[in-house]
């Protein structure tokens, strides 16, 4: 039983339309919409750098928003997942630690100047960060990974320190730790201080002796000989003393006099150290309350050293010459470059993270690989499409051309949908798009083969077309549904790039039902409506 397609009528918004008119209207609307959504992408990605400069920034930004977004794997950039280490926080502090950390990170990244960063919470204790177009990985890691806990701690007097050094020596010697560590007999009586360049506060340890000293200081039970209110504290690495490099070891008060919370602002500056006028550092200005605290601390401790400790390492420990009422302090001695000084100023201004963060997942793609990937994906797409076009046209002739037009329409719809939904095009997404080209014509192959079969059974062209579409439909629907099932699970499982693949594949499959079935049918109906057709080019 075959119903004549033109007998069916539909009512749309009160107007009666024939089935073919309705289909035509559908295709025209979908295509017009696609071009509307595609246009910003086309404009944005064909702009020359000069044209981009000439455009008002507002227009450029809105154009970029409407264009298809490129994933980090295509435009280059960095994707990080951070875990906030709440282990040392109280229950009260832990409650909003992740939110506070996100706030701090957002401020830091904003100041760093990355276009369109994305900072999202992921689950209970994770933060995902996307930094598109970022090239200096090391700098970004320093900026994001630093806790930036700034503490001002009083340095113990040299006498107090010497006392502690000798108690450590005695403890280690008694325990035989020195022998166990493989030291010479001569050094066994004073295992620690024999490694010191000067026995003072701070003591200085040569680079090559650092592993041994660290090992000795890690000996069990050593804490018992250090007074409870004091603490050992290393300087930042690569310090110089008497012409050798190494690290200084300080004995400080355990409780900080002040923390970075009292800082109002911080600036990178050159020439903060008189002895070293070309070196960079960071000058810090305190808030009004911090200023009062700083005046009190400095006033009470004139002629003592105040260690400026950043994330557990002493940057410098200048002597307090007099009470400082201005609330100005400077951080020097960290072997700063212009960039590291600027970045430290940024993190100090943005505030310390409420807890340390660890990078648990990092993916960076350099801009060169990103653009290579676009180029290669594009080439593969063109070649793949060309191969399919050649095959279809040779094998199915004019009908092949119809299938190709449907396939191209399908591709346009998919890209337009990506732009319209604000989805992201990733490298696997491009692969999905290329595969969709091959899958899209499959639908028409199934229909064409059915039509051929009916033609061979001596049916008329019109009947063959009707039956070809009707009989192939169920198979086509099944085939699409099974692939769609996979795509849905893929989307659930996927990380960014894989999601991009699942999305392109799904949109491609759905659009294909429209282009390969409805659109091509419309073409045949049109051809057949123009009178009796004896032969079909198929």
């Amino acid at each position: 039983m075959i119903t004549h397609p033109y007998a069916r009528r539909f009512t749309v918004w009160g107007a009666t339309m024939r089935a073919d008119q309705l289909k035509l209207a559908g295709v025209l609307v979908a295509t017009a919409l696609s071009i509307w959504f595609l246009y910003p992408s086309f404009r944005y990605y064909t702009l020359t750098p000069a044209q981009r400069q000439a455009l008002p920034p507002g227009d450029l930004a809105s154009l970029r928003r409407k264009a298809v977004h490129l994933g980090l794997d295509l435009q280059g950039g960095m994707h990080l997942v951070l875990e906030v280490d709440k282990s040392r926080l109280s229950a009260e502090e832990a409650k909003d630690a992740v939110d506070r950390a996100m706030e701090v990170l957002r401020r830091r990244i904003d100041e760093f100047g990355v276009a369109e960063p994305l900072i999202q919470r992921e689950g209970e204790e994770r933060i995902a960060i996307q930094l598109p177009g970022l090239t200096d990985r090391q700098r970004a890691m320093d900026l994001i990974g630093k806790t930036a806990l700034l503490e001002f701690k009083l340095v113990r007097t040299p006498d107090e320190a010497r006392n502690v050094w000798s108690r450590i020596d005695a403890y280690l010697a008694a325990r035989g730790a020195a022998a166990a560590a493989g030291l010479d007999t001569a050094m066994r009586r004073s295992p620690l201080t024999s490694h010191f360049l000067e026995i003072d506060n701070p003591a200085f340890v040569r680079q090559e002796d650092l592993p041994m000293v660290e090992k000795l200081l890690a000996s069990a039970g050593l804490d018992s000989v250090i007074p409870g209110d004091s603490q050992l504290q290393w300087s930042s690495p690569d310090q110089g003393a008497r012409g050798v490099t190494g690290r200084a070891l300080y004995l400080t008060r355990r409780e900080p006099e002040m923390t970075g919370g009292s800082i109002a602002t911080a600036q990178a500056q050159v020439g903060l150290e008189q002895a070293n006028p070309a070196s960079w550092g960071v000058s810090v200005t305190m808030s009004p309350r911090g200023r009062a605290d700083f005046a009190r601390v400095t006033g009470n401790n004139v002629n003592r050293h105040l260690a400026i400790v950043l994330d557990g390492e002493v940057s410098s420990a200048p002597v307090i010459r007099e009470r400082i009422p201005s609330g100005n302090a400077s951080i020097t001695g960290g072997n700063f470059t212009v960039e590291t000084a600027k970045d430290l100023a940024i993190v100090l201004r943005a505030g310390a993270l409420p807890a340390p963060v660890h990078v648990i997942d990092e993916r960076s793609v350099g801009p060169s690989l990103g653009s290579d990937s676009i180029h290669e994906g594009f080439t593969a797409g063109l070649v793949g499409t060309a191969l399919v076009v050649i095959f279809m046209v040779v094998y199915y002739q004019l009908s092949g051309v119809v299938a190709i037009v449907a396939m191209l329409l399908n591709t346009i719809y998919v890209i337009a949908a990506l732009g319209g939904f604000g989805a992201t095009l990733t490298l696997p997404g491009i692969a999905g798009l290329v595969l969709t080209v091959g899958m899209a014509v499959d639908t028409n192959v199934l229909i064409f083969e059915r039509i051929r079969e009916e033609l061979r059974n001596q049916r008329s062209v019109r009947q063959s077309v009707e039956m070809g579409y009707d009989r192939a439909f169920r198979t086509i629907l099944d085939a699409h549904l099974t692939t769609l099932i996979s795509a849905v699970f893929l989307f659930q499982f996927g990380t960014g790039p894989i999601k991009g693949f699942a999305v392109t594949l799904s949109i491609g499959l759905i659009a294909n039902m429209f282009t390969a079935v409805l659109f091509t049918r419309m073409i045949y109906d049109f051809i057949l409506s123009r009178g009796k057709v004896e032969r079909l080019s198929i």
Binding site: S368, Y395, D442, T482, S486
Partner: protein
Amino acid sequence: MFQILHGTDIPFMRYRRIAYLFSGGLAVATAIWLIVHGGPRYSVDFTGGTLLQIRLSQVVPADQIRHALDEGGYRGVELQQMTGENRNEYLLRMKAGAQGDPIAGVQSAIQKQMPGVTVEQRRAENVGPKVGGELRTKAIWAILGSLAGILVYVGVRYQFKYALGAVVALFHDVFVTLGMLCFTHREVSLTVVAALLTIAGYSINDTIVVFDRIRERAKALRKEKHSRVMDIAVNETLSRTIITSLTVFLTALALFIWGGEVLRDFSFAMLMGVGFGTYSSVFVASALALDVWIGLDRRKGIQAE
């Protein structure tokens, strides 16, 4: 009209035992490989660890880079030099748990030994062991989930006698593709899992085409032997089975050749999956359906072959 594979009358079902041997052999080989190696070669996505792709300003022999890495204290780094035009590119893989920042460390180690050479970082992945474990669990669930989803669909759509063959063919395609990845020493990464899932969804398409025809023919040709019905259905749909796969194969091939290094394992898996999917729709799905059909009839006391 220009046509291939029309009017064929190949007695496919007669060769099904050979096909069982072939498929069974591949599956067993895959299983043995997996048991011997303790699973597939997972990428850093799943094991955790570091992957670094660098490009040097000139081609340097791999052993010089190996030497530089050893000097810098990075032993046990898996080093792979790329081929063809990208001979100045190297892939470095490290296990999780390295001290400090291995990405920066490795680059400076190479830089130190080769002062005149610039090192450009093309790609860096550093996955913590916890994240790797989570992704592995998620991948397994995604594969099981989509297989189950397709199974339910096939179960609802077809009688048991067909469904079993379709299901075995589905597992066969995914498993043998995995085997091909293993045999060629490719890594199972997130994108490869995506390919395996796509294969699961796509490879059953050919089976659906053949089965729909078998169902149609089984009604019309009651008097014929079961195997003859099968052969007729398979031969009638042969051209579309081959052509639909061919078009996807062509695009996957384009991706494999021109799609770049990052997509190579993905497109390899697709190529294999599409190939085996086509083969299995005839030699696994239809052949098994035939044997189930014969078995069911014989149990009912009907002579069938």
